[in-house]
């Protein structure tokens, strides 16, 4: 589960002047032809850096994103829901493994990535810094947060970096179960008792603003992405992805009789795009910088997990072990 472009950090293209112009031209021509870049191919440092940042954030988002849903496994209503949610959470952690491996092919070790997550140096998707108070919150995540992630991941699967695309192909195939499971859960709540409907409506009210943040800052204020689009690191803009999500899922939410908590949300017949209340980007910045309702809890869970697993890693140490950068 991940929405791209979730920081305001700009990119400095100055380093491109240091690159070999002939190699840079060949690299760009390869991408323009639709070919994939593989780990041992020449690539500009900026491309490598941006990919590491993006894939690493994606991996962290999968592993942190498993936490708010994971807490609902024991309280999911009935054995079948528990089984499904457990499988989904296992998938999310598995996705993190695939993504860490893809990032490792670019030269950053998994250990360094985990360190950067725990110390707060690396970011993850902002939406997971919000709490899942009720079962309906968990259902919202399974259906709509995963739906948002699929919009983002299907686009990125057509990107230029081979190992990331291959990981995303596998992840997207698995996410289709998550989406159908989440929709199934919400249909049951929607067609259930008044109390169940109210529970989902309240979850929708809580999660809609973070959901609008999910695709990252508005194109009007987000960092310049022209070079990243040209290199197929980023495949569509934040606003385009947000619009695609609204196109696909607002009608489904309305169909179930729920009210989306934005009085300005409507499809503009002239532009063919959605009008909506501008999300609160100040809150987005505040939360991504550590001041959200659950930031501390999320990182603390990871820290305690690392601490409690230390004796296992100690026991597994062997002089013959050697870390080698993955091949592809």
């Amino acid at each position: 589960m991940y929405g791209g472009g979730n920081t305001f950090e700009g990119i400095k293209t100055d380093s491109l002047a240091q690159e070999d112009p002939q190699k840079l031209a060949e690299f760009e021509a390869r991408i323009a032809r639709g070919e994939k870049i593989e780990p041992t191919d020449w690539m500009p440092e900026l491309y490598r850096k941006q990919l590491v940042r993006m894939i690493e954030q994606h991996a962290h988002s999968e592993i942190i994103g498993a936490l708010p849903e994971g807490t609902w496994i024991t309280r999911a209503p009935g054995f079948k829901r528990k089984l499904s949610l457990m499988a989904k959470v296992q998938d999310e952690v598995g996705h993190a493994q695939l993504l860490y491996s893809a990032a490792e092919t670019l030269g950053k070790s998994r250990e360094q990535m985990i360190d950067d997550l725990i110390t707060g140096k690396s970011k993850y998707s902002n939406i997971f810094n919000y709490p899942a108070f009720t079962w309906a919150d968990s259902c919202f995540i399974s259906w709509l947060v995963d739906a948002g992630a699929i919009v983002n991941q299907l686009a990125n699967a057509k990107g230029s970096y081979g190992p990331y695309c291959r990981a995303l192909d596998r992840i997207c195939a698995e996410e289709s179960f998550h989406l159908k499971y989440g929709h199934h859960c919400v249909i049951y709540l929607a067609s259930g008792t008044e109390k169940q409907r109210q529970m989902f409506q309240e979850a929708l009210n809580r999660w809609w603003p973070p959901m609008m943040h999910f695709f990252g800052p508005s194109d009007k204020i987000s960092a310049h992405t022209e070079v990243l689009m040209r290199w197929k690191v980023k495949m569509s803009t934040n606003d385009d992805q947000r619009n695609q999500f609204l196109d696909m899922y607002v009608p489904k939410i309305w169909e179930l009789g729920f009210t989306i908590p934005d009085p300005n949300l409507k499809k503009n017949p002239e532009t063919g795009r959605w009008d909506y209340t501008e999300p609160d980007w100040e809150e987005f910045k505040r939360v991504i910088n550590g001041d959200g309702p659950c930031n501390k809890e999320r990182l603390e869970v990871r820290r305690v997990a690392e601490e409690r697993g230390q004796w296992v890693r100690e026991a597994l140490k062997s002089p013959s072990l050697r870390y080698v950068t993955p091949l592809a």
Partner: protein
């Protein structure tokens, strides 16, 4: 107009597992001890009998047996699988990566005669950039370099191969007969499939109910 946020405050953990964790909230966040930089193992999966093995990715593990188990969990939780194998990344011998009409076999350094015993090697080809390496067969050789040249003679004629991997078979942890039980229950785990979540009838009934209540 900006949307109002209702929960923009730091809150106590609501995860019951977190509340039970000893030491929760008492530690400072420090880089962890450098202990889990385990070995990397490459994973190859066979989806169906008769289909070639294909490279799927890597796992981190402390030894090859654990790598095998982690590979099973990471790459074969769903979809069909009849076999997989793992080998340490450092045991995969890699040719130069090429593109266009240049075959990687053309860029091999001259063969040097190995002085070790002749052994069997698995051979993998990358024939489409962006896709996975796929198994093409095995060769006998006394060194990895010689195995590359044997693979060229046996499998390299008349086609462009962008990358070649050879792996000494003695360095591979294969699936044995007893392991095949691992995947027998895969078809029963329908809760992992999107197709198991059909709610069309329930949705239709709900929409009908709403229509009649208006």
């Amino acid at each position: 107009m900006l949307l109002n946020r209702s929960i923009a405050f730091m809150m106590k953990p609501i995860d019951p597992r977190v509340n039970r964790l000893p030491g929760f909230g008492q530690g400072s966040i420090q880089p962890k001890a450098p202990l889990d930089q385990l070995g990397t193992y490459e994973v190859f999966v066979q989806a169906k009998e008769g289909k070639p093995f294909q490279h799927e990715g890597i796992v981190h593990a402390s030894d090859i047996e654990l790598a095998y188990i982690l590979a099973k969990e990471t790459f074969t939780r769903r979809f069909t699988c009849v076999s997989l194998y793992v080998t340490e990344t450092r045991d995969v011998y890699v040719s130069p990566l090429t593109d266009g009409q240049t075959s990687s076999y053309e860029l091999l350094p001259p063969a040097t005669a190995g002085n070790g015993p002749t052994e069997a090697y698995e051979v993998y080809h990358l024939v489409k950039r962006g896709k996975q390496h796929v198994h093409v067969g095995e060769v006998m050789a006394s060194s990895p370099q010689e195995a590359m040249h044997s693979a060229k003679e046996k499998f390299g004629a008349g086609k462009v191969v962008y990358n070649v991997w050879v792996i000494r078979k003695s360095n591979i942890r294969y699936t044995n007969e007893a392991d095949k039980d691992l995947w027998l229950t895969l078809p029963e785990k329908k809760y992992r499939d999107a197709a198991d979540y059909k709610a069309g009838d329930k949705l239709t009934a709900f929409l009908e109910r709403v229509k009649h209540s208006v």
